[in-house]
Symmetry: D3
Subunit: 328 residues, 6 copies
Amino acid sequence: MKFIKELVDGERIESVFAVADKQLRTTRAGKMFLSLKLTDKTGNIDAVVWDNAEALSGKFEKGDFIGIRADVNTYQGANQLTLQQLKKVEKTSEYMARFLATSDRDVDEMMDELKLYAMGIENSKVRELVTGLLEDESFAEGFKRSSAAKAMHHVFAGGLLQHTLKVTRISDLIYKEYAETDAAISAMISRDLLIAGAILHDIGKAVELSPGPVFEYTLKGRLLGHIPIGLMTVKARIDKIDGFPDEAADVLMHMLLSHHGEYEYGSPKRPKCMEAFILHYADNIDASLQGLMEYAGKDNAEGKFTAFHRLHERYFYKGRPDLGEDEE
Amino acid sequence: MKFIKELVDGERIESVFAVADKQLRTTRAGKMFLSLKLTDKTGNIDAVVWDNAEALSGKFEKGDFIGIRADVNTYQGANQLTLQQLKKVEKTSEYMARFLATSDRDVDEMMDELKLYAMGIENSKVRELVTGLLEDESFAEGFKRSSAAKAMHHVFAGGLLQHTLKVTRISDLIYKEYAETDAAISAMISRDLLIAGAILHDIGKAVELSPGPVFEYTLKGRLLGHIPIGLMTVKARIDKIDGFPDEAADVLMHMLLSHHGEYEYGSPKRPKCMEAFILHYADNIDASLQGLMEYAGKDNAEGKFTAFHRLHERYFYKGRPDLGEDEE
Amino acid sequence: MKFIKELVDGERIESVFAVADKQLRTTRAGKMFLSLKLTDKTGNIDAVVWDNAEALSGKFEKGDFIGIRADVNTYQGANQLTLQQLKKVEKTSEYMARFLATSDRDVDEMMDELKLYAMGIENSKVRELVTGLLEDESFAEGFKRSSAAKAMHHVFAGGLLQHTLKVTRISDLIYKEYAETDAAISAMISRDLLIAGAILHDIGKAVELSPGPVFEYTLKGRLLGHIPIGLMTVKARIDKIDGFPDEAADVLMHMLLSHHGEYEYGSPKRPKCMEAFILHYADNIDASLQGLMEYAGKDNAEGKFTAFHRLHERYFYKGRPDLGEDEE
Amino acid sequence: MKFIKELVDGERIESVFAVADKQLRTTRAGKMFLSLKLTDKTGNIDAVVWDNAEALSGKFEKGDFIGIRADVNTYQGANQLTLQQLKKVEKTSEYMARFLATSDRDVDEMMDELKLYAMGIENSKVRELVTGLLEDESFAEGFKRSSAAKAMHHVFAGGLLQHTLKVTRISDLIYKEYAETDAAISAMISRDLLIAGAILHDIGKAVELSPGPVFEYTLKGRLLGHIPIGLMTVKARIDKIDGFPDEAADVLMHMLLSHHGEYEYGSPKRPKCMEAFILHYADNIDASLQGLMEYAGKDNAEGKFTAFHRLHERYFYKGRPDLGEDEE
Amino acid sequence: MKFIKELVDGERIESVFAVADKQLRTTRAGKMFLSLKLTDKTGNIDAVVWDNAEALSGKFEKGDFIGIRADVNTYQGANQLTLQQLKKVEKTSEYMARFLATSDRDVDEMMDELKLYAMGIENSKVRELVTGLLEDESFAEGFKRSSAAKAMHHVFAGGLLQHTLKVTRISDLIYKEYAETDAAISAMISRDLLIAGAILHDIGKAVELSPGPVFEYTLKGRLLGHIPIGLMTVKARIDKIDGFPDEAADVLMHMLLSHHGEYEYGSPKRPKCMEAFILHYADNIDASLQGLMEYAGKDNAEGKFTAFHRLHERYFYKGRPDLGEDEE
Amino acid sequence: MKFIKELVDGERIESVFAVADKQLRTTRAGKMFLSLKLTDKTGNIDAVVWDNAEALSGKFEKGDFIGIRADVNTYQGANQLTLQQLKKVEKTSEYMARFLATSDRDVDEMMDELKLYAMGIENSKVRELVTGLLEDESFAEGFKRSSAAKAMHHVFAGGLLQHTLKVTRISDLIYKEYAETDAAISAMISRDLLIAGAILHDIGKAVELSPGPVFEYTLKGRLLGHIPIGLMTVKARIDKIDGFPDEAADVLMHMLLSHHGEYEYGSPKRPKCMEAFILHYADNIDASLQGLMEYAGKDNAEGKFTAFHRLHERYFYKGRPDLGEDEE
């Protein structure tokens, strides 16, 4: 079975895809047809079904997987599919693997590394909070599968975990840098809370976004958002730990509430302590670098700059400057 | 015992006040003295202790109540006290009544009216949530005593309850107005959730602010804020109600999260449904009118306008225009 | 004569529509044709004229009414018209009724209710101002026909009146709520000015927007805006009332100038008195609820949320949460 | 009679001043005294009355003129007055001249020049509007006496006229610059409307601010602001001119409504035509240069920069750079 | 050879155009074709090559000039070209003249006038700086050819020079206006620095934008921007002038750094002296008037207003009001 | 000689201080006196000279060092000095050491470490640029002595160097973190440019601020700012290095221009490449942590929170939460 990126104009194929969009339309001549958008982890493709459209339309929904026989043709530089046959198929794990883009890194390895950080927390109560969550299968399952942001492109299963691990590592690096050279600053930082906050900061995203292959905001995601969802998850677990130090709980929850840094980015609090500042910047660093890399990776603009990025309101430089032949 | 507002230049008094501020200072000549700010529910007054200052200073703290004998004198138009004697006294309920400004309205009557609204909620789960909270003595105690905003001036015990009741009443009025005349709009409003949201919207304030007589932000208040605190309180109670409808819980929590309307006012979500809009505006109406009334009430500026209000960046019109002799 | 929503693919019809847009184009083959957008109060439809396009184009303008004979066909799920014949027709009241979406509520009934509010103003001068305006046929005619905002969709004749009446009712409800329970606040509110301000607040819109069926900004609307237009209308009438109390006039005009609340929404003043705050929030409540209802009503997105609203920058929740079977 | 700037430490004087502030206070020892701020056009001075303070306080108000006998002494580098005698005096024109800082330029000359611009308007209706206003004695009286902004310092009688004339001259210069060299731009400018708009743009300030010697916002100024006040004045006059061209009136009023350029500066409209842009920038140029000159003139900071300007949030460079000995 | 604006539906032409865009595409039937956008100084036109597309595509690039034989046809009201033959041609000056829209004014005349201003600078060092730059052929060449803003439409060779000259003239007019009437202000202005700053303010644009016929941001333009580029150019030249007065250099560079007025428009400094304010407003005046003229000139909207301008967020009034028959 | 922090009420001292402020004043009784603010690296103290004030005032200036004999007394809790004798003294290095707070870390050690980073740059041209600057004694002298921000408190000689080294180390840590785990991201980062940019990013501050003991903005600092000053310094050095790779120069200068991240913080460009993002966040991390540590260190507020920080608009949490007795 070929992936979407491998299709060649003119060939006939048999394959399985996920349905990303589905509309029943009518031609100018009054004939009904099905207009579909199909997807796998390599991209999207438009497809049409000319025969028996109305009947077929009732047999599957957006989000389903379908097996097809189709001809590949090209329109304005892009491939399209004309479907000859289609039928709904089960979401077997084999098929799932075709549709769900995943992290380049091994998910379980990353999870193990994150657990090592959790186990390194010295305070027993704080450690219990974090390891308890990571060891909880019902949580870990969703957490490992979740992306770190909405929409199929630039998002993949394991993305949330990969981001969380990176933020934890960077937070720890910064802590160690100051611990080594600056006693006055490091005296104001609790490494335990910093590591705990870094691991927990985005856990609400596993609920805010639906599991793949199509990553979308859930109802809870839209009404509550990942910061309040994560807060409530952490609070419920703290309440079950006997003797969890009260002020430490407040500082930890403050870190979650303030990690976007400013009100206008949805933080109901702004950073007020060392740990909150470090978490906020570590989060920004990874989001900026990964975002730029992914955006540049998908970008088609000729030259050294990407196309204009609407959200960031700028053209990004995607090259590496030529430092030239170094004569030395 | 005279209240602060009743003091007259030149008289000698015996009374009891709360200590709002305390500093041990030294005169130019090197003599130690105590500089105090004393308070009761009618206002503040500066006071000095010239004799035995250092020893006396160790005997009480800011926040304590002290019984004094003192002379009233005037400096730059304001009364001051020169203390002859002072001793710390117990915080008896009699004294408490002297210091704690309270709502003009009877707190228990207001609480009863609020409970009537709660009992009028038709859905049994939502009603159980709200009545359960109001009937919970450990919650109700603090709720009834709390102010609705920080700082002694323009704030009073019962203020949170009075505001909550008003927001509930206005929300209900608006619901009824549309229910009566506009089916398309009222069909989109759940009165049960609207009333529940109105009653619960500010409950976090009972934790965000310390109990009087001096209303200050607590550690939890500064690190978490009343919106997340209220959210966690509501969530914990919902989790204990078997079969609480899930989406209703999300809408209710959304109302709490969005009731400040915009990110820059600390709302992590902005209103996305009818109930959230009504709650937001009902909250704004009562806060604006009560705030303007209190600010104008304390204002000393000559003429029709108050002094410049720094937060609102304007002079308020505090008069009522003279509509003249109406000849009819 | 069929309405646009009633047309069926394949039928031939004779009907009358208003011309919402008109362009003379040329096919790839060089043939001229007319491309039209036609409208009635049920919606819009694209239409083409293949024969004699150039000559026909000179016979009518955008905004005119035309009688047509045409075939209905379908393209990409939407009906289109191929016109066989067309001729311009007069704007008779019968045709007008076909094109002009109107309030669900009886316009004259609403006008009568608004007049009752006006007549309930106690001060004779203020009452004379408001009733004088509402009784002035040349004003009332346009006022009753006007929409409350631009653009055909989500706007209808009588919309301005319906909004004005609702804002007046809500303002009065809020006044009464405080009058009943809070003497200190209600003492600062003049109900006469509040009611007058509510009735007058948007009268400039009858000039800012063109009369239907196509609601567009007028030249005066674009250069001056409804707030200054309304101000000048009120001022001119006040100047003609002998002995109108001067300060009351200023407060009333202040309410008009500040009812959008903030500079960035086009208010040259921000609310500085009780009446201005109440009017501002009453206006916001009705605009928000009605806007959300209309937007959700037109929305086609699957699920519980509307499509993304560009102006409000959010997805609205359009459902009512399922409160479940209540077992009691 | 000496001016405030001429007073010398140690001398006894007899003079007349305006009362800028008045407070009845009590010394620490319980003695009443009067604390005054006196003013003339050369500056302010603090003054005290030790004897008979209470009785004297009832005999004059803030804003009155008083004749005094007093001793000059110095405190912390500033002169003060200790009053021996005082009595209220009439506001004769001779005294008025002492208190009212006035433009360096002759007011009547400036008025004549402005009238010349008005008479140079070619269109008879527009000319009638502007000359009619300038010739109207009841208007001209206040206009000539008004300042261009609030508060005694950096403000003077004739300031509004001087600013208006400058804005008119600069607008005309810009018009001529483009008329001479750029037909496409100048074809879009009506010089008549430009000159009329420049002359009329700030006329509301004569009502927004009280007449001197103390320039303060009036009630109308605070509730309505000079833009809406000016608009109503212009509209009322246009209504009395038979056949005034309607669209010209709208453009002219648009210029008034948009001359602050942006909503956040209180403009309910932003510039949409050539004339409005020119007026906006001409107004900004004169306000910026005159403001900087006045601020630097009063500034006492050592070095090349003024003290920090709170409103403009910057230190201004007040020097002229030394271009050095030019050897050529 | 016909210009693009002169082409008539149905004719066959031979001409030369610049290639503004080039894409190799495939029809639905799988056939390759070339889709081009061609341009000359009168506009753009779409073109297709059906035969031999792949081979031809390799023979020229975007930005090249091509000679063609083609048929003109029309689609949806717009002309298109179907190319029969094409070959790349050299960029001769004759062809260059066809593609490069230029200022209506003679570039050399404008340059001479600008030099006159430069030579009128009294201080020999400042004069040397400015004349040195204008006389430097390698600079002058690019400066004279540069546009004043990005993108082919509304931009032309010589645009930067024309804008610079206008800003210089307006700055001088404003200087003279104050020099004539206001000694206190003009004493704070150095005309030498004002003229020098006006001439130099935008010189970085000659590097920020590529030379025509297609004006685009260069790599330096995107990474550095014209303000820092201009600053470095000026600094390097000042460093080579012996005895250039130091503080004058700082003020001059401050003018460049602050001429956009506010941080959010890319100014790293805001105006702090007279010269900087005058330059800032003179720049704004010319940019606003010319921008409005060009936008209105290209605008097709019916009526008195342009289409909505996205950047300025408004509809511009493009008419001149009818002042009517003036009966006098 | 005692430091200011060591002074005891009642003693007579002989010492040397720097003059931070100087004013000649007059007592109420007309007597001249000198009011001074004196400073050393431990703090500030007010001082007065009662005798011979006018003559003494002419003998020294603000910024000078004076030797004094004085009595220590206390007023409102703060020590003051009454000077008996004073004379100006030379700024010997011994005295300098008394006044100039310096980094806790050895300046030369830090400089050596920074040079190691510079020497580790692989590209010979980029390395030449950075080492050339650090080895340039005339630059290094000022750089090592400079503070990283204005105003005596929380600023010290060596502060700029300490901050620069920390930003370089953090940038390198982040680079290595991605280099180790993420090929796609690290492939887009030039470590050479990152290290060079980190070392150079704030070099303009050595010119923007005056050398201690009083750190103030210089004329160049106010007119140009440290970003443009640094840019010009780097550009001038690049111009002298033969064959410096052009695009690398542009990226490096872009990093300087964008390191404040947003326009409103004075960056004329916003980050567009990996290196610019890393530098921006590394700068923010060190500024935030060091700023919070210094602010908390000076803070006197009782409890867990600092006083309100006006610039950051928040109370900072200055505690470390008590994690309790950990029973394990």
